[in-house]
């Protein structure tokens, strides 16, 4: 540009050049400032909402607050499922001066194992210093007291209380209530699928069985939220908003815990089950399966050892026999079969059968035995029920055929779910031609029909099904839905601040009634059951001697293992698990029944339904009726025919 001619500086030219360049630079500065400003404008104006949202989601967190689970009461208001505080010892490292020394001292004071301590330090490493870490998850009351006295010495260490489920009656109610236990992965997935996961964000446990499972939604309640501001470490700075959780509904059951206790006592040392129901409503008064187990064990997570013990026990305590075990009903179903005979017109109340002690089908060699070796002689319907005569019912079953039997029995609810409000129910088996074809791909044999006639063969029932069928019988066809839930109670908080519990009884729609051709048929059969208990010499007379509430019933002894033709049964020589089961059904009072009961006892050492199962039913009824004295208007309907054979010392079937 400038040739090297003058050495003298041209100041004004330099100044001009410099001014030009400065101006260019200044323009650059302005341009850059505009770019910077435009960029900030984009962030603060164009994308303001996006960044505001992100800023809020940085700082505002929703902490879920678990609702209190609804309580469960028996029909008289006795608490069956409680929420009890469980105390844990927690440490906030940040607030502890000398962590190692403090932990060592507290551990010594409360006798906390070295194992727990090392677990604590391991947990500690993964947690922020201002977050609580558990040193002990379940302190005893004594430990809580001991620590409370010394708490001032240990800043940063404190006792925290959490509500956990507690069943004060332990194994007495487990089969009915089920239990609450930790939500496992399967439960979590299920909740996720049902869209309920959010509601369970702070919840520890979920109903696993029984009422706790069936009414989970009612019991759980609705989650609350604490809206908090947190810093970048997640430390809560302040609470912005609080939505309290809605506690779950309290449930009142139809159970009577006192009857339940009697049932347990009556069954102690035996394997078996009792179901007692109010036939007027279908409400279960008592339902107990022995042996049972303590549901509280599962609330805190059962130890492998304890669980193995329950699983491997020969007595199968985990099985709820009342609804899960299918027992051969044996003679307890004879009243239902008699009713079927009358209804199908194959017999009349006067029809007589001669019982020589055995029954034989024409052209077949097999002899079907009565339980009384020399037979009952001439037997009509009433006597057949009173004495539990097998021959009469072999003959009746033969006349009816399997199809008529199973059709009628299905109307009584055998072979199907009763609809009780727990999920553990078993359908058991009401055999039919189609059932056998489907199950074994075999045709039906007439011999099997005869066995069905005395409640054997493939036929199995749950004690609950028996109770339900008997309810329909005593109600003369009016059918009830068996249920445990009587009422629910909800905490209502009015806008004025008033709070009260609103109790709503649960209404159960009655099922379509079972209609008979002739309503007299109900009375014939019910009278026979009445006689069975009330008449001297009838099979269930002895166990109810002296009772004041006018009970009726029917015994049964079920053969568990198949026996060869002519083989003699002797309980003493038969291995324990092949011994007969004792069955019994009963209701009282005769006129307006208030309670129906079914009892099943497995593998009894001696005797049958009358000596083993009937006394159990009596104990419950004694408790239920107390001092009440009830007599029926039409006592002892006398059979028109019939010579009554004196009761033998031998036990009826």
């Amino acid at each position: 540009m400038s040739p090297r001619r003058i050495v003298i500086r041209n100041h004004s030219a330099e100044a001009n050049l410099f001014a030009r360049r400065t101006f260019i630079a200044f323009s650059g500065v302005v341009l850059v400032l505009l770019i910077l400003f435009a960029n900030v404008y984009t962030l603060q104006v164009e994308s303001f909402e996006k960044y505001q949202t992100r800023s809020n989601s940085n700082r505002i967190k929703l902490l879920p607050v678990a609702p209190n689970r609804g309580l469960i009461y028996d029909r008289h208001g006795v608490l069956l499922a409680d929420n009890k505080p469980v105390y844990s010892l927690e440490v906030i490292a940040e607030d502890v001066d000398d962590l190692k020394a403090s932990i060592a001292q507290v551990s010594k004071l409360l006798n906390i194992s070295a194992d727990r301590q090392s677990k604590f330090f391991k947990l500690m490493k993964r947690k922020r210093r201002f977050k609580p870490v558990e040193l002990h998850s379940r302190l005893s009351d004594q430990q809580v007291a001991l620590f409370s006295v010394n708490q001032h010495k240990y800043p940063g260490i404190y006792v925290n209380a959490r509500l956990k489920r507690y069943y004060p009656f332990s194994d007495l109610t487990t089969h009915n209530l089920g239990y609450v236990a930790r939500i496992n992965r399967k439960d979590a997935n299920k909740l996720e699928r049902a869209g309920k996961a959010e509601n369970y964000a702070a919840t520890y446990g979920i109903g696993k069985l029984g009422i706790e499972k069936y009414y989970e939604d009612m019991l759980h309640g609705t989650i609350g939220h604490q809206e908090v501001e947190v810093n970048n470490q997640g430390r809560v700075i302040r609470t912005l908003n609080y939505t309290p959780p809605v506690p779950g509904k309290d449930l009142t059951l139809t159970l009577d815990i006192e009857l339940q206790m009697i049932a347990k006592r009556a069954l102690s040392g035996k394997r078996g089950a009792i179901v007692a129901m109010d036939p007027r409503t279908g409400g279960i008064l008592a339902m107990y399966s022995n042996p049972s187990y303590d549901g509280n064990l599962f609330v805190h997570g059962i130890s492998t050892k304890n669980y193995k013990k329950l699983l491997e026990s020969k007595d199968l305590p985990l099985i709820n026999r009342s609804v899960q075990s299918g027992y051969p009903p044996a003679s307890t179903v004879k009243p239902f079969l008699a009713l079927t005979g009358l209804e199908e017109n194959v017999i009349t109340p006067k029809t007589e059968v001669y019982d020589p002690g055995w029954y034989q089908l024409k052209g077949l060699p097999n002899k079907y035995r009565d339980w009384l070796p020399w037979g009952h002689g001439k037997v009509n319907l009433t006597k057949a029920i009173e004495q539990s005569c097998n021959i009469y019912f072999y003959d009746l079953a033969f006349k009816l055929g399997i199809t008529k039997i199973s059709n009628m029995m299905e109307r009584f609810g055998f072979g199907d779910y009763t609809g009780l409000d727990i999920y553990e129910e078993n359908k058991a088996i009401m055999p039919s031609v189609a059932w056998k074809r489907a199950r074994y791909n075999q045709s039906w044999y007439t011999g099997e029909t005869l066995s069905v006639g005395i409640g054997q063969s493939f036929w199995t029932v749950t004690p609950l099904q028996l109770t339900q069928a008997l309810t329909t019988l005593v109600n003369k066809g009016e059918r009830k839905i068996p249920h445990l839930l009587k009422a629910k109670s909800e905490l209502i908080i009015e806008s004025s601040g008033n709070a009260y519990h609103q109790i709503t009884p649960i209404e159960y729609e009655p099922r379509a009634p079972l209609k008979l051709r002739d309503d007299n048929n109900w009375d014939i059969v019910l009278n026979a059951m009445h006689n069975t208990v009330q008449k001297f010499g009838a099979t269930a007379h002895k166990p109810f001697k002296g009772s004041t509430y006018d009970a009726s019933g029917k015994t049964g002894s079920a053969q568990v293992a198949r026996r060869k033709q002519g083989e003699k049964y002797d309980a003493k020589t038969t291995s324990e698990n092949k011994r007969d089961n004792a069955m019994f059904i009963a209701f009282a009072p005769f006129d307006k029944p208030e309670i129906v009961i079914a009892v099943a006892i497995e593998n009894v050492a001696k005797g049958g339904g009358a000596t083993n199962a009937a006394p159990v039913a009596r104990q419950i009824m004694d408790q239920y009726f107390g001092d009440r004295v009830i007599t029926s208007k039409k006592r002892n309907v006398k059979p028109k025919t019939a010579t009554v054979i004196a009761a033998t010392p031998q036990e009826a079937g």
């Binding site: 410099f18 910077l36 992100r54």
Partner: protein, 371 residues
């Protein structure tokens, strides 16, 4: 009227005698005061950090005042030996320097730790201004090439420490001198070409892993939002959520709840934007523009080529701080450690900057005595 004029003249001359340029001082004080308020907000509302900041402001103002008393042409005399001394110190930093925060920047003199790269921010423009003002302007190509080499030496030495931010500022200060000295546009074009050709070399041989990561993060911060992208994402959230009016002083949730990293140092602009919004940003940029304008006015009115070039370079370098800092926290540039000048907490860079302003004031006020 006349008497007032005389009085004004008198007042003016008092500042003149003190070698203080009043408009420049006002701009600087505004930024320093803002810095105090912001450091209080960003530093967890603790007064201790405000005292520290106030103390370093005091030291820096004193430094500026002292430097302002030195006639600018003194620097011209001492340019070469000081520059050589500076280079020697940079070399000794690399050889025996004190390592801190993964970089070797400090020289331990026994009684104090000293960061030679800071003083080079002043020495380099002085040296280059001296070098190019030896001849008549505009500069010749050969001079430009030699000047470039002179700039490159300290730049590379500092980049090696590694201190990318400082080496960038030093390179700019030298380049601004060359630009203002009238280097031909053709040459500038060639240089830009060479510089862009230099980028791959820089990437492959000079940049450390973490520096490369910063650039990658800059290109896509969301790929690692909790790791390397965290700073820039949180910074953008802070700025963006401030909106037009801001959340109010001490009310910025991003800064008060500590989501924003390096709040009182490099990312103080984000705190400011969050709490004072777009209105505040406009005001802050206006103050910076005012300071730059005043600096350039001083440069244009300087009496000598050397002082013109030096004043211009110091002013524009000051602006580079502004640009790089705001650019990086708002996501326009990769994150390099450059503070927001005069506002960020951090004594060393402020003392250097204020010394630079001292030189500007000297140039502004001494000119009448050196024609």
């Amino acid at each position: 009227m006349r008497s007032t004029g005389q009085e004004q003249q008198k007042v003016h001359s008092i500042w003149q005698r003190l070698h203080i340029d009043v408009p420049l001082l006002l701009g600087i004080l505004a930024l320093l005061a803002l810095g105090l308020f912001l450091v209080y907000s960003a530093g967890g509302q603790e007064t201790a950090i405000v005292y520290l900041k106030a103390r370093s402001i005091g030291v820096a103002l004193l430094g500026m005042f002292i430097v302002a008393q030195i006639p600018p042409l003194v620097y011209r005399k001492w340019a070469v030996p000081v520059f050589v001394l500076g280079l020697l110190m940079l070399i000794s930093v690399l050889l025996f320097g004190h390592v801190g925060k993964g970089a070797q920047r400090w020289l331990d003199l026994g009684f104090m730790k000293f960061q030679p790269s800071e003083i080079m921010k002043l020495i380099v423009p002085i040296m280059i201004a001296w070098f190019v003002s030896q001849e008549n302007l505009p500069v010749k190509i050969s001079t430009v090439i030699l000047a470039f080499i002179l700039v490159l030496l300290p730049t590379l030495l500092i980049a090696k420490q590694p201190d990318l931010g400082t080496s960038l500022l030093i390179a700019s200060s030298g380049i601004f001198v060359i630009f203002l000295a009238g280097a031909s546009w053709k040459l500038i074009g060639v240089c830009l070409g060479l510089a862009s050709a230099f980028v791959p070399i820089l990437w492959m041989f000079l940049m450390k892993g973490y520096q490369k990561q910063r650039v990658l993060t800059f290109l896509n911060p969301e790929q690692d939002p909790l790791g390397s992208g965290y700073h820039i994402i949180q910074s953008k959230i802070a700025i963006g959520s401030g909106g037009i009016e801001g959340k109010g002083w001490l009310q910025g949730t991003q800064s008060q709840l500590e989501f924003l990293p390096e709040r009182h140092t490099d990312f103080i602009f984000s705190v400011f934007s969050e709490e004072f919004g777009l209105i505040g940003v406009a005001a802050l940029l206006a103050i910076y523009l005012f300071v730059v304008m005043r600096g350039l006015w001083i440069a244009v009115n300087a009496q000598h080529a050397f002082t013109k070039l030096l004043a211009g370079s110091l002013t524009l370098t000051f602006f580079v701080y502004v640009f790089v800092n705001i650019g990086m926290v708002s996501g326009l540039l990769p994150v390099v450690g450059v503070p927001l000048p005069l506002v960020s907490f951090g004594g060393t860079s402020m003392v250097t900057l204020m010394a630079g302003f001292g030189i500007l004031m000297a140039i502004s006020t001494h000119r009448r005595f050196h024609v």
